[in-house]
């Protein structure tokens, strides 16, 4: 067995162990069952929610709404942020313009803008997607700009020496050489988007995984709250795995 395969089995084992400890804790009544439902009870709740939906919408709709919001914000951040970040990385003047603005907004938790966004853009989708977009956008811009600045001078000289024009240098050297940073930016942005979708659904959403969590907790429906949390975790994990596969594929030349 290769080392990677062995490590994968260890990861699977740690998940099973966690489930095992959780089951044991429930069986032995170490925690109040209404505070920590057993895995079996949760699974039953999950089946029931699949059947009946939650709060008037099917579970699929809740998942779909959250995923749609996260992906919309994420894609907008990537489509606008990657080119903008590359420009910022290439042009010191633009970088000087943008740096203080990013520097000011970056330490502020995006949630701090939630109420303002609702005030500006209403209670619908715009405020939610807008919040996700804003938080992810700056990450993408910063990472891409850093990546472009970090392209080794040696490679640029080698390319110029081979007779590449400025335009060819940009598209055939700068962009591929920045790909590792661009991929890092995409992964960070996707994590941020998924994290923020829950927060954005805390205000005025009628559907979505964040809505389930908030609504269920208000009615002390702890199993449903857990289902919401587990779904968020599972989907986030799958998304992350998919992206890291894309990354490995795109950056195969790094030999990792």
């Amino acid at each position: 067995m290769t080392r990677t395969a062995a490590l994968r089995w260890i990861s699977l084992g740690s998940v099973l162990a966690l489930l095992g400890i959780w089951s044991v804790v429930s069986w032995l009544d170490l925690a109040r069952p209404d505070a920590l439902p057993s895995p079996v009870k949760l699974f039953r709740t999950f089946l029931a929610m699949l059947d009946e939906g939650y709060g008037g919408s099917s579970l699929g709709k809740h998942v779909g709404m959250s995923v749609m919001r996260a992906i919309s914000g994420f894609l907008a951040a990537v489509i606008l942020g990657v080119p903008f970040g590359i420009l910022v990385g290439r042009h010191p003047v633009l970088s000087a313009v943008v740096a203080p603005i990013i520097g000011f907004f970056r330490p502020i938790p995006p949630i701090a803008f939630l109420t303002l966004f609702v005030f500006y853009f209403g209670i619908g989708e715009a405020s939610k997607i807008g919040l996700i977009f804003m938080a992810a956008f700056w990450y993408v811009v910063l990472n891409c700009a850093d990546g472009v600045r970090a392209v080794p001078e040696l490679l640029i000289r080698a390319a110029e020496n081979s007779g590449l024009t400025k335009r060819q240098l940009f598209f055939h050297i700068i962009i591929p050489a920045s790909m590792p940073s661009i991929m890092t930016a995409l992964r960070a942005a996707s994590a941020i988007s998924w994290t923020l979708v829950v927060a954005s659904e805390l205000l005025g959403a009628q559907a979505g995984l964040g809505f389930i969590i908030l609504d269920a907790a208000q009615y002390f429906n702890i199993p449903a709250t857990f289902i919401g949390i587990v779904l968020i975790g599972t989907i986030g994990l799958m998304w992350e795995l998919a992206l890291s596969n894309v990354q490995r594929h795109v950056l195969h030349w790094q030999g990792r």
Partner: protein, 260 residues
Amino acid sequence: MNADLIVARALRKVYPGRSERDTPTLALEEFDLSVAEHEVACIVGPSGCGKTTLLNMIAGFEKPSGGELTMRGRPIAGTSPERSVVFQQPALFPWLNVWDNVTLGPRMRGVDLRKLAATAEHVLTSIGLGGFKKHYPYQLSGGMRQRVQIARVLIASPDVILMDEPFGSLDAQTRIIMHEVLLRLWAEYQPTIFFITHDVEEALILGDHVYVMSRRPGRLKAKIQVPFPRPRGYELIGDPGFAALRSKVVSMLREEWEAR
């Protein structure tokens, strides 16, 4: 001897300090040099004497601060594939395989692909990379990466190949192999080679002339003809004439060291 290809007259290079209070660094001053067509010119000198500065100016990466630097009588302005560089570090594009690395320049210049493929095939085979066309740089050893750089340069059929201590980071055995590869390629293509090294032995095995530079600011201290006939091989090292020439160059360099 053939006509002069590269000529430097009273060449001067000053690097300004980082701030106005910093003293500027004088890298080269009153530097004269002439390299003939098809010559292998080896430059030796104490470290920091401006060898790389000189190469960077010939390559067109940096501009002279004064004096003249010409190729075939025309001032050198900017970088060009006719003066192709083999860098000290293997400057390969890690996202391209060997084939694409070697052919990138000509492809971008729109060279006919069929002609290019034939040339690339020939160059890669003659440098011993025929079986590695699909390999990526991370899959290659240090010596093979330098071969890829040399292949990339050869395919541009440059007037002059500029080499900045290209084998400096390789182990001793790989270096010997690379010297043999280079000698063989020179016999086949007869390019002009401008070769910077700090290794006197390397300079004497490869060069037609060894140009000894003074300590900074670099001037040309001596141009020494290397009389050994080609084709050369490593048995040359045992030759008494080789040993004598070697100690002559080494003592010139030592003078520069001790004068510091």
